[in-house]
């Protein structure tokens, strides 16, 4: 996996590169601003870009703009956006054009190396990684809605992990249940929420997020 990192904080940039290289991943270039990042993408044609949201010159959302531009130039590029804080509204905006090959995580998730690497691979393989914090924000802000209330606690857990972008196997591992059980839960969830069942993780994420967002708006 060929990776380009865009992060303006030098300590964090080096730390990230160090960590990924120790995991035998190929960090082909690092950049500390949007311009050099885009140049690196053009030059190295990486598989994945790990991008900090706040970068010079204004330290607001340069990372997002740069990610969008990078994907325009190279549509197959997977992008994992790291942010100091996450906003659910921001996540839905980011995913509005489809959730495939996109990730949006809190920066500190990198420290949980196994989970971070799993998310990185998921995104690189065409999946999605949404920070649990975003999903939690959605679930807590969502007004109790009849359909959601009909979900069992276990189904809610599965829903949350689905929203993060996890596949059936990963969900089964997290919840220490069999894949078959996960499958059943998911079918039940889609039935209760009246959503068309879909096995593709990225479309599933969008469907679930959109559902939660809609309930929130209606509430």
């Amino acid at each position: 996996m060929r990776i380009v990192i865009a992060e303006d904080d030098s300590l964090l940039r080096e730390g990230l590169a160090l960590l990924l290289r120790a995991e035998k991943l190929d960090v082909v270039a690092t950049a500390d601003n949007p311009t050099t990042f885009l140049a690196a993408v053009d030059e190295h044609k990486p598989d994945v870009a790990i991008v900090d949201v706040r970068m010079p010159p204004t330290h607001t959302d340069e990372g997002i703009t740069a990610s969008v531009e990078a994907r325009r130039r190279q549509p197959e590029l997977a992008v994992l956006v790291l942010s100091a804080y996450v906003e659910q509204a921001f996540a839905t905006e980011l995913l509005s054009g489809g959730a495939a090959r996109l990730g949006y995580l809190l920066k500190e998730r990198v420290g949980r190396v196994e989970e971070f690497l799993a998310a990185l691979h998921r995104v690189a393989d065409g999946g999605t990684a949404i920070d649990p914090e975003v999903v939690a924000q959605l679930l807590t802000r969502t007004r109790p809605d009849a359909a959601l209330n009909r979900l069992s606690p276990r189904e809610r857990d599965v829903l949350a992990l689905m929203a993060e972008g996890l596949g059936n196997t990963a969900i089964a591992e997290r919840l220490f249940v069999t894949e078959g059980a996960v499958h059943k839960h998911i079918r039940s969830i889609f039935a209760k929420l009246d959503l068309p069942p879909d096995d593709r993780a990225d479309r599933r994420v969008t469907a679930v997020l959109r559902y939660l967002e809609d309930t929130q708006r209606r509430g």
């Binding site: 904080d9 300590l11 730390g15 160090l18 960590l19 120790a22 100091a84 990198v110």
Partner: protein
């Protein structure tokens, strides 16, 4: 004496402006008789208000009381004639353009004559006899007795300047103080308007301040802590594979944690320096001086304490000013003076550097100015090329 002279020169400046305004007003008034002048009425009234506001600003800086500007001038002749403030300004213009001008000219000719006559014995021999006179033009000096007589005249000029200079300056300012102040009710409503505006500015300044803090927490401290977790995560993964590498990673993680602590301290100090509460403004400023790269003398004479927010503002003004001094001025010395006069705190930061400081040039002064205006204070920066640079701030003490 220096102060009196400054006031006289400043007054002379506004007197020339007043003269120009009077001439323009008369010109426009005559023009109105043939209708063309009507076109120029708004500019004439604006010029009049501009000149009057210059004088108001000058007298406010002189103190003790601030003279508030009535705001934009009325733009039609009819409104102007009805407006008592405008009529009072006309009276002031007439006084200041004549009387104020004469007093100002006397004021600056005193020191010039003092120098001329005081040095007369040194150079009178060089003059052809009919030109060798005192500054009064007579009598013609032909011998040394006469030359020293002129010298004595020079000393007299100096004595007059020292003795009567301040009185002369006050005399020149009197019409302005009497005619440019607003009637109490107008003054009060204007003050309310101004305070509403500055209060909004205060809230803005506050929001900007919070934004700065948020940014330094998110982009500084938090990044350090994220780096700590990243390095710890990497170290844990390396523990079994490569213990020596893990040891190195742990060392780096510790460094990053220490940096985070240092940044946290900086951020906290930037919110409200604890030293202010512990040791007061004088002690806090001493602390700033010792960390300043340029040798700095602190001279604080301030009985009692001011409101905490005022002291904090004063502290940040000096901190910013000293940062600018060490970064840009190339100065060898800086001086910080703090005085309390009645209920106003007056700060002055001076350096002997190259001058040419520019408020727009990305210095932190813009933020500082907002903070000061939010406190209803005044900031002035004088920095001619070649120096010296002086930053003066006046703040109501709020206690």
């Amino acid at each position: 004496m220096r102060e009196a002279l400054e006031h006289l020169v400043g007054g002379l400046g506004t007197a020339f402006l007043a003269l120009a305004a009077v001439l323009w007003l008369l010109f426009v008034a005559i023009g109105c008789l043939v209708a063309v002048g009507l076109l120029f009425v708004p500019t004439a009234l604006r010029l009049q208000r501009f000149v009057a506001d210059r004088e108001r600003g000058r007298l406010s800086r002189w103190g003790p009381a601030e003279i508030v500007s009535p705001g934009p001038a009325p733009l039609s002749w009819r409104d102007a004639v009805r407006d008592p403030t405008v009529r009072r300004e006309w009276r002031w213009l007439a006084w200041h353009a004549t009387f104020g001008l004469v007093v100002g000219i006397i004021g600056i000719s005193l020191p010039l004559n003092a120098v001329r006559d005081g040095t007369f014995p040194l150079w009178w021999k060089l003059l052809p006899p009919p030109d060798a006179t005192s500054s009064l033009g007579a009598p013609v000096v032909t011998d040394w007795v006469g030359a020293f007589g002129v010298w004595a005249l020079g000393v007299t000029w100096l004595a007059i300047l020292t003795g009567f200079g301040p009185a002369l300056a006050r005399l020149q300012a009197r019409p302005g103080r009497r005619l440019l102040t607003l009637p109490p009710d107008v003054d009060l409503s204007l003050r309310v308007a101004e305070l509403t505006a500055t209060r909004a500015a205060a809230l803005d300044a506050h929001a900007i301040e919070l934004r700065r803090i948020e940014r330094s927490l998110h982009d500084g401290t938090q990044n350090r802590l994220v780096a700590v977790t990243v390095l710890l995560g990497a170290a844990r993964r390396a523990l079994t594979r490569d213990p020596a590498g893990a040891e190195e990673l742990l060392g780096r993680a510790q460094d990053a944690a220490e940096q985070a602590l240092a940044e946290l301290r900086t951020v906290a100090r930037g919110i409200l320096p604890p030293v202010l509460a512990d040791r007061g403004l004088a002690g806090a400023l001493d602390g700033l001086a010792t960390t300043c790269a340029v040798p700095c003398r602190i001279d604080v004479d301030m009985p009692g304490r001011c409101a905490a927010s005022v002291e904090a503002t004063a502290y940040f003004v000096v901190a910013e000013a000293l940062t600018n001094v060490s970064k840009h001025s190339g100065a060898a010395h800086a001086t910080v003076t703090v005085r309390r006069r009645d209920d106003r705190l007056r700060l002055e930061v001076t350096d002997d550097g190259r001058g040419g400081a520019d408020e727009g040039g990305g210095s932190g002064l813009t933020g500082i100015r907002r903070r000061i205006e939010a406190h209803d204070g005044i900031l002035t920066l004088t920095s001619p090329p070649g120096g010296p640079t002086t930053l003066t701030v006046e703040l109501p003490c709020g206690s």
